[in-house]
Symmetry: C2
Subunit: 207 residues, 2 copies
């Protein structure tokens, strides 16, 4: 069944989870509806109901969703009932920012190692972690049994570094390098490129 | 016609542009095909032809696409024949990384002002720009006629800051704050949240 669910649906689940958590923590709410959730997220309530129906029956006509229950279910579906260890590759400005991002820890991700190939950066301390030489990466990743890497190296080094990560057993890569990565079908890649995001919006702006 | 093209198609155009530029600059190629482009990007050639057909007839059966011509056309479609000035709001670690990101300048975006509300950051120099007090933001944005902002403030301040940007005439916001923004229909928002991106991938990983 899992294989049949479109990835675009999976991609919306973390957004539902984020908003539900906000409703519970900040607004102190205990129940919500697909209508309320949709209104807050700019997504139709029908879409939300359809997305969730792939995984079961979470709401009741009239009473809607129990927020904490739905949060638990989504966390279970997305495999967030554990802490995921993450390797950070690249200790430049962006690597530095990511190493200090407290959102990871709060949501079950923990950067446990940082690598760079620049001798001036190796040995530097970033948020309690010491930057390690990238040549030691394969051995360290294998002993630590890490599945996820965040790639913040220049475009010219991205494919080679990704290959190395994959060979060391990494199964999911969040990459900030502005280049498409070729990876085996069992490896998942998520791209973050601010230029691509800005260019998508300038289409709609008057030049 | 422009209104009828799905946003998901628009979102792929910058990715085509990025790969075409790479083919021209690094591989020194002058022509390509939807097949080659698709293979490099993990997108079907039929999808690429269909996407581009929204905007005209760019390739020829047999010879494919002239890369530089297609680059020019895509730049024109995406309104990239000008330099877009960008306001950066938030001078924390990630703001710092974005202020120093050289990919913006290379692709026609120029951060021309940086704002923060922290008195310790105001006055600090970041890549030739001086961080200005956020209270001066509305006046500065209006005199500079800036359409695009990058938002890197905490989630708790994001909506209020976005409202302020929109009131000052901003039409496109790239936000790194982990919260959905409510904006008028003529304002475009693009989201970047590493936690959401990681959670989308953990779905596919064995816990």
């Amino acid at each position: 069944m899992a294989n049949e669910i479109p990835d675009i649906v999976i991609g919306r689940l973390p957004i539902y989870l984020r908003e539900l958590t906000r409703l519970a923590e900040e607004d102190q709410k205990t129940t919500t509806s697909s209508h309320e959730l949709g209104k807050r997220l700019g997504i139709s309530s029908a879409q939300i109901r359809k997305d969730l129906s792939h995984f079961g029956e979470f709401g009741k006509q009239g009473t809607g969703y129990h927020i904490n229950y739905l949060i638990d279910q989504l966390r279970d579906i997305l495999h967030l009932e554990q802490v995921w260890e993450v390797a950070l590759v690249g200790a430049g400005y962006l690597g530095h920012a990511l190493a200090h991002y407290d959102g990871f820890a709060r949501h079950g991700f923990r950067i446990t190692c940082i690598f760079d190939n620049d001798p001036e950066k190796v040995g530097e301390k970033m948020n309690e972690l010491v930057v390690q030489d990238i040549s030691e990466m394969p051995a360290i990743l294998q002993t630590q049994n890490i599945d996820i890497a965040i790639l913040v190296v220049p475009a010219s080094a991205a494919q080679e570094t990704a290959d190395c990560l994959i060979q060391a057993g990494i199964k999911a890569i969040l990459t900030y390098a502005p280049i498409h990565l070729e990876v085996p079908t069992d490896v998942h890649v998520s791209y973050s490129d601010p230029v691509v995001q800005l260019q998508r919006m300038t289409y709609y702006l008057s030049p």
